[in-house]
């Protein structure tokens, strides 16, 4: 139903007038040292697409790459973390597949259900919308800083709390309001996913850099150039569509391009309901914010001020 034209988050197959299945899959190598936490993050990340579509998760299958020679206890902790998140999602872990590989990789294939009339597209922002981001940015930079031993415990704790939190809760809030577009912020970074959201919108997104929820230390790491190759790749791809106004700190700019693991939902909703949604989201205990608005098309598709 949802084609590949707009790089949507998952595949949808309609069964009846009011029932469709949603399928998605994601897996990757560890970004944290603790195998149990890695399992939680990988599962939260793979499940996220389901909520970004407005669907409900039903079943999940493990995808595992694991070196034969490695301690099997590590794998059991990864799977433990993953299965707990599947359970928290209200889905059933129905099995999976593992292969021998030189490096550890883990993720899920998830199936969910949805009323096909109520699918959230990742495009469709309208002039007059506000943009809400439900998790802080900066987890990619924090993990990168952590790999070279430069991240503080506090920053990593905040990053882990954010990455292991299911987007289910934010989706349950957002679902009660009209939603024009919804996606989850992952590999393409905040600006990459925002760019997707604006395709065919003939509008411009104004991003307020001071309102972007973020992990405070991540700005500092960015300013210390603990930056990733992936963020630069995103920048190369997006730069022509983005105008960064003078006075926006370099650290924030870098954060906006930074790829996120298990990032938050980015939703485009009518201005009238923005504040109310934000009040509800704040109760979930993660930094979140109204990060911008959709205005009539200017020269550039995205303006950061």
């Amino acid at each position: 139903m949802v084609g590949f034209d707009h790089a949507d988050d998952a595949a949808v197959y309609q069964l009846t007038d009011d029932l469709a299945i949603v399928q998605t899959l994601d897996f990757f190598p560890p970004m944290v040292d603790d195998p149990y936490i890695f399992g939680q993050i990988a599962a939260a990340n793979a499940l996220s697409d389901i909520w970004a579509m407005g669907a409900v998760a039903k079943t999940a299958l493990n995808i595992v790459c694991f070196p034969e020679k490695m301690n099997i206890e590590v794998l059991s902790q990864v799977l433990q973390g993953g299965s707990e998140k599947v359970m928290e999602a209200g889905a059933v872990l129905a099995g999976g597949h593992s292969i021998d590989d030189v490096d550890v990789k883990y993720g899920l294939s998830v199936t969910g259900i949805i009323d096909p009339r109520k699918i959230y597209k990742n495009v469709g922002s309208k002039v007059g919308d506000v943009l809400i981001l439900t998790k802080p940015l900066g987890v990619g930079i924090c993990c990168s800083a952590n790999r070279v031993g430069e991240a503080s415990q506090r920053a990593m704790d905040q990053a882990i709390q954010s990455m292991t939190t299911l987007n289910k809760y934010a989706a349950e809030v957002v679902r009660r309001y009209p939603v024009h577009a919804c996606t989850d912020v992952t590999g393409f970074g905040f600006l990459g996913h925002l760019h997707e959201m604006l395709s065919n919108a003939h509008a411009t997104a104004l991003v307020y850099s001071s309102e972007v929820p973020h992990i405070p230390e991540a700005i500092h790491y960015a300013e210390e150039f603990l930056i990733t190759g992936a963020a630069q790749r995103n920048r190369n791809f997006l730069e022509k569509n983005v105008q960064i106004e003078a006075g926006v700190p370099f650290g924030i700019e870098e954060l906006l391009y930074d790829p996120q693991t298990s990032g938050g939902l980015l939703v485009s909703v009518p201005k009238e309901v923005g504040e109310e949604i934000l009040r509800e989201l704040r109760k979930l205990d993660l930094p979140c914010g109204i990060v911008g608005e959709i205005v009539p098309r200017k020269e550039k598709e995205i303006i950061v001020r």
Partner: protein, 201 residues
């Protein structure tokens, strides 16, 4: 003096980190950094730009690129042997506010004094470079503060207003912050270490 860092085979952010280390040891000269991919080269270019270093790029092949950064031109650092005085007169001026009150004694008076102090800062001919706020001083930067207008005036004039993140958290004011940015202990220490003058009311 010319130095070379061979960062081929290293993934980001390691080339940048190795480069930063090398730059720290250099007061003048050219630093060549060799990397094996364009993305790393672009990240180094971004860093050179941010640090205000002039640089040139050279691409030998798809897997061999160099950036040459020139260190120590323009901003010439005074050699230390010439005495400490010039350093003190120049250098950054940092105002450290560690409490919402000024001086010790009656808190009500202390708050009035602090408001006056911050207002007086805005009237200076040469504004400070930074204002650091920690512990209860972060209450000065949040919505509803009497000093908000003056702090905003300073911020608009280019003064960095840096609020301690831990302290905002502690007082549960993170969402109420209305002026300046959030900082951490590293920056609080670094700003004071690098300051030419520190003013503590």
């Amino acid at each position: 003096m010319k130095r070379t860092v061979d960062a081929t085979g290293l993934a980001c952010p390691l080339p940048v980190i190795e480069t930063k280390k090398a730059l720290k040891d250099m007061s003048q000269g050219v630093l060549e950094v060799i990397v094996d991919n364009v993305i790393s080269l672009q990240n180094l270019e971004k860093m050179a730009k941010q640090m205000g270093l002039s640089y040139t790029l050279e691409t030998e092949s798809d897997t061999r690129h160099s950036i040459y950064m020139t260190v120590g031109e323009g901003v010439v650092e005074e050699p230390r042997a010439e005495g400490r005085e010039p350093e003190i007169v120049s250098g950054t001026k940092v105002v450290v506010l560690s409490s919402e009150t000024m001086g010790s004694g009656d808190d009500k008076l202390g708050r009035v004094l602090m408001k006056g102090f911050i207002y007086a800062l805005t009237e200076l001919d040469r504004l400070p470079d930074k204002v650091l706020l920690y512990n209860s001083a972060v209450k000065l930067s949040v919505k509803g503060s009497d000093s908000l207008i003056d702090l905003q005036k300073l911020a608009d004039a280019g003064v960095e207003i840096l609020n301690c993140g831990t302290c905002l958290n502690f007082y549960d004011l993170t969402d109420e912050l209305a002026v300046g940015s959030v900082t951490n202990m590293y920056e609080i220490v670094q700003s004071q270490m690098e300051a030419g003058t520190i003013i503590r009311p």
